[in-house]
Symmetry: C2
Subunit: 324 residues, 2 copies
Amino acid sequence: MSNITEIAKRANVSRTTVSRVLNHHPYVKHDKREAVFQAMKELHYVPNLNAINLSRGRTNVLGVIVPKISHPFFSSLIEGIGEECHQFDYSLLVYQSNNDPKKELQFFDKLKHQQIDGLILGSSVLPTATVDHFAQYLNVVSCENSNSNILPRVYVNHGHGIQLAIDHLRERGHQKMGLCIGNPQSGVGVTRRESFFHFQELYELNWQEEWYFSEQYTIDHGREIARNLIEQKERPTAMIVGSDQVAAGLYYELANQELRIPEDLAIVGFDNQPIAQITELTTIQQPVKELGKKAVFLLNNLIHKQIVPLSNLFDLQLIARKST
Amino acid sequence: MSNITEIAKRANVSRTTVSRVLNHHPYVKHDKREAVFQAMKELHYVPNLNAINLSRGRTNVLGVIVPKISHPFFSSLIEGIGEECHQFDYSLLVYQSNNDPKKELQFFDKLKHQQIDGLILGSSVLPTATVDHFAQYLNVVSCENSNSNILPRVYVNHGHGIQLAIDHLRERGHQKMGLCIGNPQSGVGVTRRESFFHFQELYELNWQEEWYFSEQYTIDHGREIARNLIEQKERPTAMIVGSDQVAAGLYYELANQELRIPEDLAIVGFDNQPIAQITELTTIQQPVKELGKKAVFLLNNLIHKQIVPLSNLFDLQLIARKST
DNA sequence: TTGAAAGCGCTAACAA
DNA sequence: TTGTTAGCGCTTTCAA
């Protein structure tokens, strides 16, 4: 592996001049520049990024941490982030936390170790205070809302999503609705739950304790919920489900048990994943990739010491299909 | 940000000793070691990875390149890779190629630039010769089969998958089968196609040109195929589809058009994604995460100059459901 | 327009 | 068991 010293020798210039050529610095005479290029070609020169990073004190790498990489929401988020990283010439380090706060903390270490220039929190279970502590001196952007006053975030208004779902169901005459969410600790989970109960009260709906489910992530969870609901003496007439996967499982098991959808039970999902299209699921669509792209945009500004808006809200949309 | 020089001063030792403490080197007296730890604590010392990487000439980062991050197969692959990386204390850089050879080449550059220690090809459209060229002096592992004699790879026998599907269909009396695959250039695509035609001949089945589809990736593609098939005067009685998503779209549109599955058309998918479970799709299951984990294992051995087997085959399994 | 020289923060061969 | 010293490959003042 050749280095700038060798290039400099062969091109009969100083290492500095080679560095200038490398960095497209203006003050280099044409023939010297050519000589350097020639030498680089002959020696198959490849710059060593670690050396550059060490010198410059940055890496051009961003990190993203998500609970589960293969979850459709997060893989789309990563995709959006990845595409925008490519635009800004960042590489992307991906880390899976499994919602384990210890793992999240580990990832912050990478930031501190200067292995990455900035960090995107796909979803975090750390307390606001902890994240804020890091956000004070590190470049962090979150993809969930929070009440921090220093952490920039991009997010959709999940409360509004719940409202869209409830309004839509009420229009169709429903008064008895259940709720099913994933991680109740996460920002998203908290918001959805609070918002759900808020509107239950506001509209004076007949909510019941047994119609609330949390920690539901998979199709099989959805099927369990179906069996659970069927057992209940008084069922809700509609379920709002925080994930299309779970909603699809619910749908599937209900149909298996000969219940009609939406007549016996209406279902609203979240995310508009492919599976929602196939099962004709009414769902709340989120602009996931846009979310990711915006996060990179903000992080890049943060890295360049620019002021970024803390709160960046994206719109949700209800997609009505046959399940309601 | 403090560095080892400051730590050394404060602990009254040399930089070397600090480095030894950092690297758990045995020859350090207990009290000096304690003094160093004390100093590190007081100065909130955090090692600079770039400096370490530069010194050591490696980064402890692996890279993976996939056509599309949000595709269920690849997001599961990344998940498996990520989990194993965590075991071996590697970070993971993720890159999306969109099947663009230029982008793949860019990623090889990162390897050359020593930004990563090794590279996993999730799927590549580069010629074998090109990949081999890199594999000669770089650490590369592929997740597709190839006929290279230097590139280590982990893969499932897609030919066998096709055979499983065809045998299963023949048992159910099918003689007229169509094939639908994704990228026909990729190793997977090539193998599936060749194998399909091989068995068509071997079993003397009535294959027709119009029953072959490629470049099919989405649910909507599947729906198009359904409409296309319906138009045909002589339809196949079964379709083998290289992706559950496409298969689900096919299923969905056929059902919409009042065709019965499997009576009017049987369908076999690939991957056993959640969507296959919901649509009761017979499918070929691949051990995706295990594939990813093995790839990391091999790459780690490669990095440590150990000899690795070139060909690492994983078994496939047919999961019979109601679509056949 | 060019080059010398001093870092960036750490590791590791060598000597003591 | 410890320290000295010379790098790793590049950037960036500063002076010419």
